[in-house]
């Protein structure tokens, strides 16, 4: 009797919790769903009173409006942002991985000092060095270049820390055989360590890509010419360009959130694990 009752309460609690969970998930996804629906609606439907949930005709008009904006600013910014983010991911993985490897496996003078020098950057808030970073890149003649978008965010103390931790957990026997065979450190790094690092590369690579894709503050200070405008700068200006034409604004925003979401879905298992790892480091 008692066991049956316990089972029933357990089933009921599971059902109640499932309903709550589904409701929260729905609320969390609703703004995105609403944005997508709006991007297919015409001007009258999008802010219609009373509400129109679904568009009468699923129109691609808004997407056309955004992409054919005369100067091609939107399409161009998607391309440039993608280019910047991809180059940044490659550079960032390579450079931070090399540093993590050196700190995990090699011995050299000033190792401790250089280690602190690298990870200290984790604790310096961007807002403190925002203006002086601007002064530095200004003096280096980097304003309105691809380099100013890519380079400043490439090295990350956090990523170095994360890779070092990962390499420390790999067994030493891994490279010993190769070293006896006379392989140098660089060869070992490229031939043995990189192929074994897929999972941290996915977590940090995806994080870096999303960070670059979403960045707004730094581009808004350093890029003023339309040539290199980043997608979030364009999203910011959609409201002033299209005013109350929310269909077009939502179409532009919807396209702009797709790349990070697609990336997330491809690597979701790794990324969710990464969230836990980074939070509990």
């Amino acid at each position: 009797m008692v066991i049956i009752m316990k089972n029933t309460t357990k089933t009921i609690s599971r059902i109640v919790n499932s309903i709550i969970a589904l409701a929260v998930a729905f609320i969390a996804l609703f703004p995105l769903l609403w944005m997508v629906l709006a991007s297919f609606k015409n001007k009258k439907e999008v802010l219609a009173v009373p509400l129109k949930i679904l568009p009468k005709v699923w129109s691609m008009e808004n997407f056309k409006t955004v992409f054919e904006d005369g100067t091609m600013a939107y399409a161009r910014s998607i391309f440039v942002t993608m280019l910047v983010a991809v180059i940044a991911v490659v550079l960032s993985l390579l450079i931070n991985m090399m540093a993590g490897y050196v700190f995990a496996r090699m011995n050299f003078y000033f190792k401790k000092f250089l280690w602190i020098y690298c990870i200290i950057s984790m604790y310096i808030p961007g807002m403190t060095i925002l203006l002086t970073s601007y002064l530095v890149v200004h003096r280096l003649g980097m304003l309105d270049t691809l380099a100013v978008l890519i380079l400043p965010g490439v090295v990350s103390g956090y990523n170095i820390f994360f890779f070092r931790q990962f390499f420390l957990n790999l067994p030493l026997s891994l490279e010993e055989a190769a070293m006896i065979d006379g392989a140098g450190r660089i060869k070992i790094f490229f031939r043995i360590f990189i192929p074994l690092s897929k999972s941290p590369m996915v977590v940090l690579g995806a994080g870096t890509f999303i960070g670059y894709w979403n960045s707004f503050l730094w581009p808004s200070m350093t890029i003023t010419q339309p040539k290199y405008m980043q997608i979030m700068q364009i999203i910011r200006s959609l409201k002033s360009v299209y005013s109350t034409n929310y269909g077009a604004i939502m179409a532009g925003t919807a396209i702009a959130v797709i790349p990070p979401i697609v990336l997330f879905f491809i690597f979701q298992k790794h990324i969710v694990k990464g969230v836990v790892l980074s939070g509990l480091k």
Partner: protein, 305 residues
């Protein structure tokens, strides 16, 4: 006496040959950190003691800039607003993610994974895009929130025109973006609590409330502290959402420190020294808050060792 210690860190001949390679592999990271983090940091600290702007020679003024910034009404206002947002957002986020982690714990693991994925999606969207979506959702006339409020018999809300509602309008997308990540963390922490503790407690007849107070919360203390710190420092640096939604208004009720500094940076006609002093002050405050994390980690190590 010191020999033992020296041996521990000794550098062998093999290392010496490798050393050059070590420095070469470290070089790109070091040079970029130096240019884009360390030099700007040193410049910021140095310039905070000078009266300067883009067009005028620098004059050393000692701590004068710090005196000016702490007495600047807008900066004070921004700091007070940041504290207000911290007091509202941090407990709200902790409570919601803690509660929702419990909900997830009662689901089958397959469903829990599905829900975690769903609620994490907003977390990868930028603050700028999230703000644009919420501007639309919160539109005074045709926005869905106001239409639902009308249907339920309430008045429309002009979200961005009144100090109270403007703060609410900023908090909603902020929580929306952060909910997934924080819930995943809480859930991981919750699943780390050994289930034997609960079993033993139920045998002793402890109510679920007592289990919460005496088992769950003490066991998850570290996660609470770490999340509290990162939420606090994150909220202190809030920028994208208030910038997009309110621009700091109405009447500076949502002006954040970051927004204040940014607006000053853009105004090149003004002296920059005291703005930089404000930025350095924020560094000091955030470092002080972060040092709590180190204290917790250290105390943990002493307990374990």
């Amino acid at each position: 006496m010191k020999h033992g210690k020296k041996d521990h860190n000794s550098i062998t001949n093999l290392d010496k040959r490798d050393m050059k390679i070590a420095y070469i592999m470290l070089f790109p990271a070091l040079i970029m950190l130096t240019i884009f983090v360390i030099i700007p940091l040193i410049m910021a600290i140095q310039k905070s003691f000078y009266d300067w702007n883009f067009y005028v020679e620098s004059i050393f003024v000692g701590f004068e800039n710090y005196k000016i910034i702490v007495n600047t009404v807008y900066f004070q206002k921004a700091v007070v607003n940041a504290v207000k947002f911290i007091v509202l957002i941090v407990p709200l986020m902790l409570l919601v993610s803690f509660g929702f982690a419990h909900v997830l714990k009662n689901l089958t693991s397959k469903m829990a994974t599905m829900i975690k994925t769903a609620i994490y999606i907003p977390g990868i969207i930028s603050g700028i895009a999230a703000s644009v979506i919420f501007i639309f959702v919160m539109d005074y006339k045709g926005g869905i929130i106001n239409q639902v409020l009308m249907q339920l018999g309430f008045d429309r809300v002009a979200f961005l025109n009144n100090p109270f509602w403007a703060s609410v309008a900023i908090i909603i997308p902020t929580v929306w973006l952060g909910l997934g990540g924080n819930t995943i963390l809480m859930y991981a922490g919750l699943m780390n609590v050994p289930s034997e503790y609960y079993e033993a407690a139920s045998v002793d007849g402890a109510t679920s409330f007592k289990q919460l107070i005496y088992i769950t919360i003490p066991q998850m203390k570290n996660i609470f502290v770490l999340m509290c710190i990162s939420l606090t420092t994150g909220t202190l640096q809030m920028f994208d959402i208030p910038y997009m939604l309110t621009g700091g208004g109405p009447s500076n009720s949502t002006l954040t420190p970051m927004l204040y500094l940014y607006n000053n940076y853009r105004d090149t006609s003004k002296g920059m020294g005291y703005t930089i002093a404000g930025a350095v002050l924020m560094l000091i405050i955030i470092t002080a808050i972060n040092s709590v994390v180190f204290a917790v980690i250290r105390s943990e190590k002493t307990v374990e060792g």
